[in-house]
Subunit: 382 residues, 2 copies
């Protein structure tokens, strides 16, 4: 048996004011191709299909189209849950109709923890839920955090676990504690959000969503697939993938990562403006990528973002590495407040603020002459 | 063949700040019962299932539950389109899966105008669309208003009409022009919103949504079902119903109205406050109804809304029939601006503003004495 584990598509995501819908559609087309090649018995989407409870309509259309291709046209069973970004209610709409096509979409956490069976695999679907929701649903007042909530859910699931069959847990949570680390200690550090990976011991494989890094957790059977795309510059070093999971006859899961190529990568670039604008540099680059640029230049730069975007059209964020203005600012502003100044004095302050060069006596003399000349002309024309 | 025609459920509707969800659920349960009794071959919902493009989740849950009961549990085919209040895209999500259960939900107007067939009936589903949308979709630059748009759509539908079978049009539009009126003239009066009923001549029956009055149009084959409930006081005199439509062997449609009883009626009440608060009056009333109250009293009333709600808890709107303040206001305010006045003078103005009685010399004298007395006490204690 084989299934593909993916999560955190975040359709409708805005990154720095830009909708990622086209990039997502590009990735999902490759995903469809991968499914065609791999011919899995199921596709598992472990939450955060959308980026928000009310996604924009282009995201709604995209999800509808992709799921339709996968499930109706290609007849691949789909198993999905809602994440913390999805609206459980809105995502649930229609799920009763989907089941007929082996599209199992669990939006709301429900009292029934009976698994859905696809081929020989039992999928236990546990959508994201706040501890307070679990507390109310299971009528267990002792639940105060995510770990206790998950423990209580596990207590309900146990009755349905057949140890002779492959049992797959599908969840959306912040799970910590690998094989080597002291998970209890990490858990107490991690806080109320965290769930211990020990809880998933009864399962052949645990397909998680929530953390965007496919290597967020190092555990033999509990895995994050990672997000579909890099969704922030903090993810720039991630290598995004989807997981192909095969369960052999002995009930052992093997996970292989498959890398899809994004339409545009998301990267951080650091350097001097001239350097970045030099063809010998940028011709070796994918200049269409989504970039965060850190400039090392000191002093004033004229319209650096426009110049950069001429070469790198998708600069999303620009920052200056050297805080060159800060030291001088105070001194200058104090001066301004104390005296009423001449044109030349004002220019000197402006010069000092905008450049790192010295406003020499020579420059000063030259400016004084210009100011005098202009003033004379003014008195004539007025 | 028999089907039930309903429309304009407007789930998620707010009326005077109050969600109608419980009232809607109450009506829809009766609707389910009616379907159980009538055993129609299909249920037709002619648009505005929701009241807005992003309905509240309780409305989403209600629609999901009702459609699930009807279509999955009771196995009744459902034919539905989106109205101007629905989001075509959001409502469309999942519709490809629904078809397997004979739940035909047409959210977006599409290039294909092929009917869906349920039993012997051909349903032509035309969701609400702006003329500009139709213009673009059909690539017909001559379309400038709703009538032209519908005419163009009819041109596309024609190819699929089999005159030997019952053809049912399901639409959401402002259709005018009955059998007796000069519809062309009415149309020119009605403006760009209006569609002539003549256009629907090829159909055995036209099931419309949009106008909330089931008698908005008087035509032998073109009908509004009206809305599920009264949704504003302008609808207080409507008698809401759903339509049972039977098509006989000769292909002739007969429509019967079925009246469902709302949890609370929506009514207008007019009278004097004392009269409305008199048990001999209100004991004959359904005091729980949603009410617009018009008071005939002149003069000031102390907390009339609180008093009314004590008897009629669901007063949604209160207005005074007599504009008793208006005439005096001007005069009084002018006086206030002109002089600095004594306590007694100020009270006189207040008295005149709040009552219809005369501020007699006797009253004036009495007040002067009180003011003097208070002032004396003040000077002692200060």
């Amino acid at each position: 048996m084989k299934f593909i584990h993916t999560a955190d598509w975040h359709l409708g995501k805005l990154v720095h004011g830009l909708y990622m819908t086209e990039d997502q559609a590009y990735m999902l087309e490759q995903f469809i191709q991968l499914v065609e090649e791999e011919k899995p018995d199921a596709v598992v989407i472990a939450g955060d299909l959308y980026d928000r409870s009310v996604p924009p309509t282009h995201a709604v259309n995209l999800l509808n189209d992709i799921l339709f291709k996968l499930n109706v046209e290609m007849k691949v069973p789909v198993v999905a849950i809602s994440g913390n970004h999805d609206s459980a209610e809105r995502l649930s709409f229609g799920s009763s109709w989907y089941q007929h096509h082996q599209f199992y979409l669990q939006g709301k956490l429900e009292d029934s923890f009976k698994p859905v069976t696809v081929g020989d695999l039992n999928f236990f679907l546990v959508p994201y839920a706040e501890p307070a929701t679990v507390k109310e649903l299971l009528e267990d007042p002792s639940i105060t955090n995510h770990d206790e909530a998950m423990k209580a859910i596990m207590g309900k699931l146990e009755a349905y676990i057949n140890p002779d069959e492959p049992n797959i847990f599908v969840g959306h949570a912040f799970v910590i504690g690998g094989q080597t680390s002291d998970s209890e200690r990490t858990l107490s550090v991690g806080g109320a959000e965290c769930v211990s990976s020990h809880l998933f011991a009864p399962f052949t494989y645990t397909a998680l969503g929530h953390l965007h890094n496919p290597h967020a957790l190092s555990h033999p059977t509990v895995h994050y697939s990672g997000s579909l795309l890099k969704y922030s510059f903090s993810e720039a070093t991630h290598k995004k993938s989807v997981s192909i999971v095969e369960i052999d006859e002995k009930g052992v899961a093997t996970r292989t990562e498959k890398f899809l190529k994004p339409r545009r990568d998301m990267r951080e670039v650091e350097g001097y403006l001239d350097e970045l604008l030099d063809p010998s540099f940028y011709k070796k680059q994918e200049t269409d990528d989504y970039l965060k640029v850190s400039l090392l230049d000191e002093g004033a730069l004229h319209e650096p973002i426009q110049k950069l975007r001429h070469v790198y059209p998708n600069v999303l964020h620009l920052e200056r590495k050297v805080d060159w203005m800060d030291a001088k600012k105070k001194q200058v502003y104090q001066t301004v407040q104390q005296n009423k100044m001449s044109e030349v004095e004002l220019f000197e302050i402006f010069y000092q603020e905008m450049t790192t060069a010295t406003f020499s006596d020579e420059k000063k003399k030259w400016l004084e002459e210009i100011v005098d000349e202009v003033k004379k002309k003014e008195s004539v024309t007025l």
